[in-house]
């Protein structure tokens, strides 16, 4: 224990430098974040994650955002336990028929202004599961989506770039 603490005194931080905000995400967001929302949110976002049918691969990488390497909280972005505390819903999965109502109710419980970020290839259009009787087929089939982050699953870096773009838009810069 003491050795571990001592090592940390003399080693470099494990946290990576901030990546630039994703250009693609900035372009998608440009028209969607209005000035009123910017004033109210400033440079801080609270995220509620909703798994609407993912294989849990996306969840693993979203989890990684909280580890010491990516350390999402240093940007003022944090995950919250209730949609009532959230500004952003981060939704994964092809939206199963069995999760659709839960997703809609979570969206309804989130106070405005709010954004929905669809994470992963399934969340865009159902991905590999498109056409299944058990899937609605993409998050936008259930709730309006403001930003898509692609990947199967997206890397933590891709998630970070997308969320930083959202933060930049929200802060009006």
């Amino acid at each position: 224990m003491r050795r571990t603490l001592f090592d940390n005194l003399i080693s470099r931080p494990v946290t990576i430098d901030a990546p630039p905000a994703s250009d693609a995400a900035l372009a998608e967001l440009a028209s969607k974040v209005d000035a009123a929302a910017r004033r109210r949110l400033g440079r801080s976002l609270s995220i509620r994650e909703v798994d609407a049918g993912s294989c849990n691969g996306c969840e693993l990488e979203i989890h990684a955002l909280n580890n010491a390497v990516y350390d999402l909280e240093r940007f003022g972005i944090r995950f919250v336990a209730s949609p009532r505390h959230a500004d952003v819903l981060l939704v994964t999965g092809p939206v199963t028929a069995n999760m659709r109502e839960a997703l809609e109710r979570t969206y309804a419980a989130t106070p405005g202004p709010k954004w929905v970020v669809a994470v992963g290839d399934c969340a865009r259009d159902g991905g590999l599961f498109a056409g299944s009787y058990a899937c609605v087929g993409g998050v936008s089939a259930a709730v309006p989506v403001d930003l898509h982050i692609a990947g199967c699953p997206p890397t933590p870096l891709a998630l970070l770039e997308g969320l930083l773009a959202l933060l930049q838009q929200a802060a009006g810069r």
Binding site: G57, E59, A97
Partner: protein
């Protein structure tokens, strides 16, 4: 000569199905099925899986004494068959799922509620309200949790009945992430079905891709090249390491010990980064394919993974010491969430859940496949069955995985890493040890290279029910800790 009560003896009366590999499949008539069921009541046979297709039910068993594995099939007249769940509770949820998906009625099963079908699929009647099992007594209250949980986890519903802080009963309601994967696989070309298999449970994508590839190769009657076997094992051990690091940290985090979580998180991240650098994907999705592996590695990759294993072997013991010497942490994990050895055995629970409760089953040893038959490793087993034991099994398995990687890297055979899988009719089954336990894959191929039917069975099927038992009598506040020590897959179970 098999004795009269052995699995092979009971199946001897049935008709062996041609082209089912590597274990036999036997078609029974209803009399034979009933005899098998009667024997199953007391026999030391583990249920490996139960699944359906239109008009037929299949049952995979393993004789725990002899190690024999076999599949028994019954043509279900009018879609009805004598229930196995009635004598072997581990089959209950599988039978409810087979009813929802293939219309097969288990005759004699008390629980007639749907399982995966929530009444929301097109063309299906709307569901009646789901009735949870009743609890009677003074001062009992209900706590309903989910499907959307507070953390970044998969969706499912937990219904607690509690008396004050003590949990009287937990009942799970799953199926929220049912994606219709088996229906999508039916008729799909081999390559697409393999990608679907790799997304049954993302955290076990390597194990699923491996199980699918092995089942497909068995069905087609081909063997992957030696180099592929070794590279597959390398990926499987990296996946095991990454998940065990994540789990050990997350369990400690649920006992409010964030330091372990932070350090384990860094180790996990390093495994994923090395995997991305060497195999091109952090979780190694789609890297294992029928016929071999999609990515070969060069000397640089071998060196990179060698350095990773050396560093992990140097740094991990300090975290083990930290866990072992932190009494506030042990105070939470020791004696919490106990699974009895009897239950683990009856349910045929695999992985750390089974091995922390005395069931020494590891597919790499019990139904060995290459290259593990040529490698030295231990299968750690404990008997306490509590959260602490499940942590220690993971710790010991991290050590064993590192030992395996140190054998795999210098021993990588030369030669091709992939062969063509010919389009050929056949049926194949595979049992593969993922980080969570044994993944079973059964499939039937057509002569034009398509998958006609594929059944993946996640280890969670036999672990979820034990979580219900483990939490009984514990306090509600210890549920997240117990749950994390199981870390069952929702997606792997719901499919």
């Amino acid at each position: 000569m098999a004795d009269a009560s052995s699995l092979s003896h009971l199946l001897a009366g049935g008709a062996a199905v041609e082209g089912h590999r590597p274990w036999p499949r036997v078609a029974l008539d209803e009399v034979g099925w009933r005899r098998l069921r009667a024997a199953l009541d007391g026999a030391e046979w583990a249920l490996l899986s139960l699944w359906g297709e239109v008009g037929t039910v299949h049952l995979a068993l393993r004789d725990e004494a002899s190690g024999e594995i076999a599949v028994a099939s019954l043509e279900a007249a009018q879609g009805r068959y004598p229930s196995i769940g009635a004598v072997r509770p581990a089959a209950i949820r599988l039978e409810r799922a087979a009813h929802d998906l293939y219309g097969l009625v288990p005759v004699g099963l008390d629980d007639e509620r749907p399982w995966l079908d929530h009444g929301r699929w097109p063309g299906r009647p709307a569901a009646r309200p789901y009735e949870f099992l009743p609890v009677e007594g003074e001062g009992i209250h209900q706590i309903a949790v989910g499907p959307v949980h507070a953390g970044i986890i998969e969706p499912g519903h937990f219904r607690f009945h509690a008396n004050g802080e003590a949990v009287v009963r937990l009942e799970q309601r799953l199926g929220y992430v049912h994606k219709g994967t088996q229906a999508l696989m039916a008729g799909a070309p081999l390559e697409r079905a393999a990608r679907l298999a790799g997304r049954v449970s993302g955290d076990s994508t390597v194990a699923y891709a491996l199980a699918f590839a092995r089942a497909a190769e068995a069905a087609a009657g081909v063997e992957a090249p030696a180099r592929a076997h070794w590279l597959r094992a390398l990926m499987a051990e990296l996946e095991r390491l990454a998940n065990h690091f994540g789990d050990i940290g997350a369990i400690c985090n649920d006992a409010s010990f964030g330091l372990m979580h932070a350090h384990c998180g860094i180790l996990r991240e390093e495994v994923l980064r090395a995997s991305a650098a060497v195999f091109g994907h952090r979780l190694m999705m789609d890297c294992i394919v029928p016929g071999g592996v999609a990515v070969d590695i060069d000397a640089g990759g071998v060196a990179r993974l060698g350095t990773l294993a050396d560093q992990l072997a140097r740094r991990f013991p300090r975290l083990v010491e930290l866990y072992d010497k932190t009494t506030s942490l042990q105070d939470r994990t020791v004696t919490s969430g106990i699974v009895s050895a009897e239950l683990a055995r009856r349910f045929g629970a695999g992985g750390f859940v089974g091995r922390a409760s005395g069931r020494a089953f590891d597919a790499r040893r019990a139904a060995p496949y290459p290259p593990y038959d040529a490698l030295a490793f231990d299968v750690p087993v404990l008997h306490e069955g509590d959260v602490n034991a499940r942590v220690w099994i993971r710790i010991r398995e991290v050590e064993q995985s590192l030992k395996l990687i140190h054998q795999l890297l210098p021993g990588l055979p030369d030669g091709p890493e992939r062969i063509e899988v010919p389009a050929r009719t056949g049926e194949g089954m595979a049992l593969v040890e993922g980080f969570r336990g044994d993944v079973l894959m059964w499939l039937r191929l057509s002569d034009d290279g398509r998958v006609l039917r594929c059944h993946p069975r996640d280890p969670s099927w036999f672990q979820w029910p034990l979580l219900e038992a483990a939490i009984e009598g514990n306090i509600v506040a210890d549920f997240p800790l117990c749950n994390k020590s199981f870390n069952c897959s929702y997606s792997g179970h719901d499919l």
